[in-house]
């Protein structure tokens, strides 16, 4: 098997004839923190939606550990070990923080079909293990005090933490973060940076879209820059930062554009 856990090969995605992603290729190494940057509307989130099965690209291949996963339904992608967060936070707002994180345990839970009707000793063991894991994650993300609070009642920064805890609860191999620092203050961003390092230390590969350049440059090991759906630059953070093509793409764009 190759050293790359995820390979994107010449992927194109169209919406009503318009190109959202154009012949995009990239390779993510196991254990890496991989950054994707680019102006708003460049197709970054569309790429994540293609990887996680929400969209099926018209052209190209998406290889997960060497196997094609293009066109696989989202829930099966998650079962493969690819978990994500959302740019616009998508929590189960009325449900408690603990219950939100418990959703990440879904694919790890070994309950049988009849356990929805009748409980068995194996059910109680499984249920306890999963709730304990939720407890560990709440402790890791400093969420324990909000265990019973509806997720929708909490601040933006806390909601972002819940989303990451939820994705991590599924014990992913690849964690995809869509603008994790958006809406966070300086302290929260610093905390997030440390958290992502800890996640990497657990052996999880991380792919992230982020606009906070300071964070991206300090955290990621490899960056791909996208503009108008196509790759315009790629390399180590130091290289990308000084690439004239990248500088031009950013100056020539409006930061406040609507996201896709």
């Amino acid at each position: 098997m190759s050293e790359y856990i995820l390979e994107i090969k010449h992927v194109s995605k169209y919406f009503h004839g318009l190109v959202a992603i154009n012949d995009l290729s990239m390779k993510v190494k196991k254990g890496q923190i991989y950054g994707i940057i680019g102006p708003n509307g460049a197709g970054k989130t569309t790429l994540f939606n293609c990887i996680t099965g929400i969209y099926t690209p018209e052209e190209g291949q998406i290889l997960w550990k060497g196997k094609e996963i293009k066109g696989t339904t989202p829930f099966k992608i998650a079962e493969l070990g690819i978990l994500r967060t959302f740019q616009t936070i998508r929590l189960f707002a009325e449900m408690s923080v603990a219950e939100n994180i418990m959703s990440g345990r879904h694919i790890k839970s070994k309950q049988k079909w009849y356990n929805g009707i009748i409980h068995t000793p194996a059910y109680y063991k499984d249920e306890k293990e999963n709730w304990e894991k939720v407890g560990e994650l709440m402790a890791f993300f400093n969420l324990s005090e909000y265990a019973t609070t509806p997720a929708g009642d909490l601040s933006y920064g806390i909601q972002r933490r819940i989303e990451m805890a939820r994705a991590l609860a599924a014990e992913p191999e690849l964690l995809i973060l869509d603008e994790p620092a958006a809406g966070l203050n300086e302290n929260e961003t610093l905390e997030l940076t440390q958290t992502i390092r800890k996640i990497q230390a657990m052996g999880v590969t991380v792919m992230m879209i982020e606009h906070d350049m300071e964070m991206v440059m300090s955290l990621t090991e490899y960056i791909t820059v996208i503009n108008f759906g196509a790759k315009i630059s790629a390399g180590l953070p130091a290289f990308v930062q000084d690439d004239p093509v990248v500088v031009e793409a950013y100056i020539g764009s409006d930061e406040e554009d609507e996201h896709e």
Binding site: A78, F92, S96, H106, I107, S109, Q111, V134, T148
Partner: protein, 316 residues
Amino acid sequence: MMNKTSLIALALLVFMGFYPLFVDSAWLAVGTTFLVFSVVAFSQDIILGRAGVFHMGHAMFFGMGAYTTAILNVHFGWPILATWAPSVLIPMAFAFVLAGPIIHLRGDYLLVATIGFNIIFIQVLENDVFGLTGGPNGIFGIDIVRLFGIEFASQTYMYYMAFILLGIALFIMRNLDKSKFGRAMFYINKDEIAAQSMGISIRYYKLYAFIVGAGIAGAAGSMFSVQYSAVSPEAFNVTQSIMFFTIVLVGGSASLPGVLIGTFIMFVLPEVFREFETARYLVFGLAMILTMILRPRGIWPVKFGDIPSYLKKGVK
């Protein structure tokens, strides 16, 4: 440790347990039907309140259970006890076959499709298919439950049988809510995209809800047919489906006390105000409208956050 809800539940249980001692036969029958309808409403709530599927044909599964018992007993001479299993399994099988092709439809489209199924079901009953369903008049002369030479014929027996059935239904609902399956339904209901991204198969869990819901409704149907010793199509038509749908929304989706309150308001109160005849329905129409405006999540809304106590230790 008893909280307020458990105390109310206990008081209600005691009241319901002794209810037959205080009432005449007409009110006893109302009580029995209330119990049976509560079971149907709970099963509707699995599909509508938990999985969030806008299913407006639930009287069909209720009717399938009722007609299964009626047909097997009257036409084939099966004892009532022997018809219980098929009256649960046949609606489940139909739920699987019928819901399968429509389960991917979005709320309003699916709602229309389920109404369509319900209408076809009534047509089948009224046309006396294979000479089994008895046409518009239905089937008469359904036997009583007999076990070890005891004949469970009186309305009091009927009441307690329905009481036990409700207990079983509540037991299942509680188990469902505390399992991966119940939670998956809630996640799908609240946000399908997020649920899928957590590895939850939307199709699987919506179908699961349909099949379990149909099975419970079928059991209630079997009880219903024995209580009245007859079945006829109008008890299972779209109007009835609308009633079960409304019970859930008015009482409170996915809320066990809510659904009981909903059944009480939608079924028992009209019986209480019978002397006002059709004028009472004006009040109910208004009550439904006002509930939706003032309490859009129902009279007794569901409360989340029922997590193991050791996880609540850090809560301030």
